[in-house]
Amino acid sequence: MNPVFLIVIFALATGVGYVIIKNVPSLLHTPLMSGMNALSGITILGAVAVVGLSVAAVRQQDVITGQILGGLAVVAATVNVVGGFGVTHRMLKMFDKKKKEERPS
C-alpha cells in the first residue's frame, strides 16, 4: 500500500482521536486510561498477520524466527488486550457497585 495513503490515514485518525474526548470526569481517568491501554494492544493484528504469513516463508529459518518472535508478539499483545479489557471492566463494575450500595443508605 502506498505510504502516503498510510500517513494520511494516520493523520486523520490522530485528528479524530484528539477531538473525541472532551470533558472526562476525573473519576474516569484511570478506567479510561486502562481501556485505552487495552486498545493499544490492537498491535495484535500486526502480530497475527506476521505469524500467519511467516508460515509461507521460503526459508526454513524464517519460518522458525517468525514463529518464535511472532508467537511471542501474539502472546504479549493478547495479554495486553485481554488483561486490559478485563481490568477495565472490573474497575467500571466497581463504580456500579459503589453507586448501588450508596443509594439505599
Binding site: F5, L6, I7, I9, F10, A11, L12, A13, G15, V16, G17, I20, I21, K22, V24, P25, H29, T30, P31, L32, M33, G35, M36, N37, A38, L39, S40, I42, T43, I44, L45, G46, V48, A49, V50, V51, G52, L53, S54, V55, T65, G66, L69, G70, G71, A73, A76, A77, T78, N80, V81, V82, G83, G84, F85, G86, V87, R90, L92, D96
Partner: protein, 292 residues
C-alpha cells in the same frame, strides 16, 4: 475477502473504536463503551485472519490461547490496589509486541513483499524504538509503583546528556535504516541497526522514566500508553495494515489528550514532567521536611 470490503470493514471498525472511547468518557455508558472497544478488537482479529488468508494457521490460536490464559489470570487475580502497576505492565507488554512486529519486518519475515522497502524499513525501526521505549519505561513505572524500585526521582549527574545522546543515536539509526542492507556496508547492516536501536531505546526508556517521581507516575503511564498506541500505528505502517494504523493513531492521540487532561487536573505541566523539572522541584519541596 476483497480489498474494497476490507477497507469498508476497517472504516467501520475504526468508527466503533471511536464510539467505544467516547462512551468510556462518560460514567453512564462506560461499561458498554469498554465492551464495544473489546468487540472491535476481536472483530479486527477475525478480519485480519480472513483478509490475509491465514485463518488456517493453527499456531496463531495456540499463542492467542496462551495470551488469553495469562491475561485473564492477571485481570481476575490482581488486587484493586495493584491496578496502576498492572496497567503499566500490560502497556509495556503491548509495546513489546509492536517492537517484535517491527523487528520481524526489518528481518523481512512474515509479510507480503513491500513495494516500498525504504518506507517499510524506516517505520519498522521506528516501531522498534517507540515500542522498546514503551516497554522499558512502563516496566520502570510498574517497578516504582510496586515499590521494587525507589519511588523517589532518580537523577543522574549527566541525565540530560544521556537522554539527548541516546535520542541522537536513535534518530541516526532510524535514518540509517533507510539504507538497510544495500549501501554503506557495515554501518547499514540490519543486525547492527537492530542492536543499536534496541540498546539505545532501552537506555532512553530507562533514563526517562527513572527520573519521574512516584506521584507523577499516573501521568507518565498515560503518556507511555499513548506512545504504545503510536508504536502500534507505526508497526501498522511497516506492514501496511490500515486498521492497525487508524486505531493506533486514534489511541495515540486520545491517549495524549487524556494525559493533558490528567496533567491539568493534577496541576502539573506535561513539559515539566517530560523534562524532569517537576521531579526536581518536587525534591525541593520534600527537603524541608526533617522526617525524610
Amino acid at each position: 475477502m476483497t480489498p474494497t470490503l476490507y477497507y469498508v470493514v476497517c472504516a467501520v471498525l475504526s468508527v466503533t473504536v471511536l464510539l467505544g472511547i467516547s462512551m468510556m468518557s462518560r460514567v453512564k455508558t462506560a461499561v458498554r463503551g469498554n465492551i464495544i472497544s473489546a468487540a472491535s478488537v476481536l472483530a479486527g482479529i477475525v478480519v485480519t485472519l480472513l483478509y490475509n488468508r491465514i485463518a488456517s494457521v493453527g499456531s496463531i490460536y495456540v499463542y492467542m490461547l496462551v495470551g488469553v490464559v495469562i491475561g485473564s489470570a492477571f485481570a481476575v487475580r490482581v488486587k484493586m490496589i495493584q491496578m496502576p502497576q498492572l496497567v503499566a505492565l500490560l502497556n509495556g507488554v503491548g509495546g513489546l509486541a509492536s517492537a517484535l512486529v517491527g523487528i520481524l519486518t526489518l528481518l523481512g519475515v512474515g509479510q507480503w513483499v513491500s513495494d516500498f522497502p525504504v518506507f517499510s524499513n524506516v517505520t519498522a525501526v521506528l516501531a522498534i524504538v517507540v515500542g522498546v521505549i514503551t516497554l522499558v519505561g512502563s516496566l520502570v513505572a510498574a517497578g516504582k509503583l510496586h515499590k521494587l524500585l525507589s519511588q523517589r526521582p532518580v537523577i543522574w549527574k549527566n541525565h540530560a546528556v544521556v537522554l539527548n545522546f541516546s535520542l541522537i543515536v536513535l534518530t541516526v539509526s532510524v535514518v540509517y535504516s533507510a539504507f538497510a542492507g544495500n549501501m554503506f556496508g557495515l554501518p547499514a547492516d540490519v543486525a547492527l541497526i537492530l542492536l543499536i536501536s534496541i540498546a539505545f531505546s532501552t537506555l532512553f526508556g530507562f533514563a526517562f522514566s527513572i527520573r519521574v517521581g512516584g506521584a507523577d507516575m499516573p501521568i507518565t503511564i498515560s503518556l507511555l500508553n499513548s506512545l504504545s498506541g503510536v508504536a502500534g500505528a507505526i508497526a501498522g505502517m511497516a506492514i501496511s495494515d490500515i486498521l492497525l494504523v487508524s486505531v493506533g493513531g486514534i489511541v495515540g492521540a486520545s491517549g495524549l489528550f487524556l494525559t493533558q487532561i490528567m496533567c491539568r487536573s493534577m496541576n502539573r505541566s506535561l513539559m515539566d514532567i517530560l523534562t524532569g523539572k517537576t521531579s526536581v522541584s518536587g525534591k525541593k519541596v520534600v527537603q524541608p521536611q526533617p522526617v525524610m
